[in-house]
């Protein structure tokens, strides 16, 4: 059974204070790892897809990296508008079923 664990559950940062969110996974043959952002009362918004260890992707202040056991979402000089819940999901080989973690709730104070 695929498992995804995200840490920390909640993170409070000051504006400009860089940090990282962690997504640890256990799957049988990773086919893809996805990062989403979810604002309160909204559906998840797609951010990145990573396919193999060593891969990195960037978008504005966000950078996602992938190893064989975990993925990190690095947030550089965050702004209050980066406040949201960040979700990680994996799809394993032969499975159509994405498994989501519980998310990290990020609050960035001005």
């Amino acid at each position: 059974e695929d498992q995804v664990t995200q840490s920390p559950e909640a993170l409070r940062l000051q504006e400009g204070e860089s940090s990282s969110l962690n997504c640890s996974y256990t799957v049988s043959g990773l086919r893809g790892l996805f990062w989403y952002r979810q604002d309160p009362g909204k559906g998840p918004e797609f951010l990145f897809t990573l396919y193999s260890a060593g891969e990195e992707k960037e978008k504005e202040r966000l950078k996602a990296t992938l190893t064989k056991k975990e993925s990190f979402l690095h947030i550089t000089a965050p702004k209050p508008e980066d406040s949201a819940t960040y979700l990680c999901a994996v799809i394993s080989g032969g499975s159509y079923i994405p498994t989501f973690g519980r998310g990290t709730s990020l609050i960035v104070h001005p």
């Binding site: 990773l30 009362g41 999901a89 799809i91 079923i97 994405p98 989501f100």
Partner: protein, 116 residues
Amino acid sequence: DAGVTQSPTHLIKTRGQHVTLRCSPISGHKSVSWYQQVLGQGPQFIFQYYEKEERGRGNFPDRFSARQFPNYSSELNVNALLLGDSALYLCASSLDALVGGNQPQHFGDGTRLSIL
């Protein structure tokens, strides 16, 4: 371009009733998936449909069913509602089936279902 649209946005039902939730995918997307998200948790997969056929089913009871129409829109039906069915129900669409894991899903804003 319109994103994934879901209706209704909010719904209140009582135990034992039946509910139908609707989803229209992004134009050109052939795959629709349904998720249940309980407060404080990540989305949990219920169904995936591709070209009107069920391609995946999560660990949900038979009270949950779905279908996809020729225009790729979809309905999620839940019978004999229980208090524990209270949740945000999300629909996501993608260009193709999830095989290979290379298709990001695009989510609607969900239907908030409350069971009294």
